[in-house]
Subunit: 337 residues, 2 copies
């Protein structure tokens, strides 16, 4: 295994981002892994996520293991003052993790100093150095798997997977979120940004991501793209095949009637979406089934929500939840139904 | 457009390969593009493809444009005596094209000499230098498209596409073979080895490969892998979506009952294969349809062949040909049916 594993706890680097919404990754880590966040490091004018403030040396002294770049920068670039802050983190003995387009490894002085200090740099957008995924074997693994799939990009596949993991654990089940995108990798401290992988090795990488496990253990695998997406369906199919899911959840956003950026393409009917996932997925797991729908209802009024969820349940004969509002327990109940 | 275009005519480099079967690419070029082959260059003991013998300087003087490495080497390596022959080709003013694992561009002295002589090096296994495929648009292009798909790898998708192009042209139709693998690229002098592409950009690269064309022009696109392959289905779906085919041909080898190297996976039923391609393909082209089956019958006795082809036709209600024996005209007839 050469999956990422980012040492914890984290010092969240905010820099000069004034708006919490621009520190999305930091907010995500804080929401899903609050115990891992030991503090925040911000410049004058940087927003407050409510964590204790540290500079890198004080954070290292207080036990921080990794400084995580918690927000986006303009155009994904590494601004000079961020670069200086990262160098400071390295000097303090911290590992550094970043999802910026501008890779830490593209800065020789950072790479050199990290090697000299014995700390690691994680560019979660690219593959770990030296990682070369195998061709998929198609062999079934032990343990169980859920995949979150979608009608489009950005409909809540990551959120749903994280919510399932949280609710399953709260119910005493063994569950592990498996990240397949950079934000998920930073939130969960592991996984692989699979959109960086050459198509021939995609399913093989996903097999590595979700290895053999206990018979009663569930991997909850973050989906990407959509089988119905005009550009990204190949990624979604590699993920569906490599995951060999026993169960899947269809994620959708209420009122999303067209694929984002592709107005000519309506989002698929939910039943058609279920059917196509079964048609493709049963090749690797003949028992694949849909356990329900995760509907992001943030575009609906609170009054309209319950009726919309109930109508979907009625039409499909499957539970329909909004994980941010109702949680995911009705979906989980299907696993033993 | 940044697709490859390899200048012609070709000097086929055979080297010391004693067996024509080890000079497969050379044989393929000779079969499908005989007019492009002006000669062969071989060492003592190298086999004879029946072309006129030249050394690189004599070939250049006789009008050769590109020296094409026509065969495989042990482990895909570039042996020292081949490297010397390639250097000789460059000195003679020839471009050089190769599908070896060991890239021409990995040899600085070759790259340097090629630049000095003003000739080009083509490593058809990797993307052309500077080529960065776009994200697919999903927009329909003018002209028509056929894709050859398969029940497995190595069932005749490239052969079928080349045979369709030849037969369509013989019938006075406008048709262009579009290569998606290294051998097809060398045979046809253009295209793209799409298995080198990161999954997010796969469909986008295929859109480039088969651009707008005349309303009565057919691109015949070489398929890769199979939607039913446990490792490579992602490649096949990217190709299906990016091609937006109006028509597809299912390629299969008679008696291939299991996926090569994946004994646990039976090759799919032909009707199931047609159905899954339509289920996935109609998202990008609602008019997609199957025009028939291309069956490689090389594992059957000549006596058994006709009966097997007829039985498939009967069962599916579609033409079934072996392009190496019967040609592809019954498939082409379906295009106007």
């Amino acid at each position: 295994m050469h999956m990422l594993e980012i040492p914890r706890p984290y010092l969240i680097f905010i820099g000069d981002n004034p708006e919490p919404l621009d520190v999305k990754t930091g907010l995500g880590i804080l929401e899903w892994r609050p115990d891992w966040c030991m503090g925040q490091y911000r410049f004058d004018g940087g927003c407050d996520l409510g964590l204790r403030d540290f500079d890198p040396h004080a954070a290292a002294a207080a036990g921080a293991a990794t400084m995580v770049v918690g927000g986006a920068s303009f155009g994904g670039k590494l601004p000079p003052n961020w670069e200086a802050a990262i160098a400071e983190g390295i000097e303090a003995g911290l590992n550094v993790a970043s999802g910026l387009h501008d890779r830490l490894h593209s800065r020789p002085h950072l790479v050199e100093r990290a090697a000299a200090k014995g700390v690691r740099l994680f560019d979660v957008r690219s593959l770990p150095p030296g990682f070369s995924p195998p061709v998929a074997s198609g062999v079934r693994r032990n343990g169980k798997r859920i995949l979150t799939v979608g009608t489009d990009c950005a409909v809540g596949k990551k959120f749903t997977a994280l919510a399932l993991e949280r609710d399953m654990r709260a119910m005493g089940m063994k569950a592990t979120f498996r990240a397949t995108g950079q934000t998920g990798v930073l939130i969960s401290g592991g996984g692989l940004a699979i959109d960086a992988i050459v198509a021939d090795f995609l399913a093989g990488a996903v097999e590595l991501l979700s290895p053999d496990n206990d018979a009663d253990h569930w991997d909850v695998i973050e989906g990407q793209g959509s089988l119905f997406h005009p550009a990204y369906a190949a990624v979604s199919l590699g993920l569906l095949h490599g995951s060999q899911p026993d169960a899947f959840v269809v994620c959708h956003e209420a009122k999303r009637d067209q694929v984002l950026g592709y107005e000519a393409f309506p989002t698929p009917d939910l039943q058609a979406c279920i059917d196509l996932h079964i048609a493709n997925g049963r090749r690797l797991n003949p028992d694949i089934r849909c356990i329900g729908v995760s509907l992001n209802t943030s575009q609906l009024t609170p009054e309209a929500r319950a009726g919309v969820l109930a109508a979907v349940e009625e039409r499909l004969g499957l539970p329909c939840v909004d994980p941010a509002v109702t949680g995911t327990k009705p979906l989980i109940a299907q696993l033993t139904a």
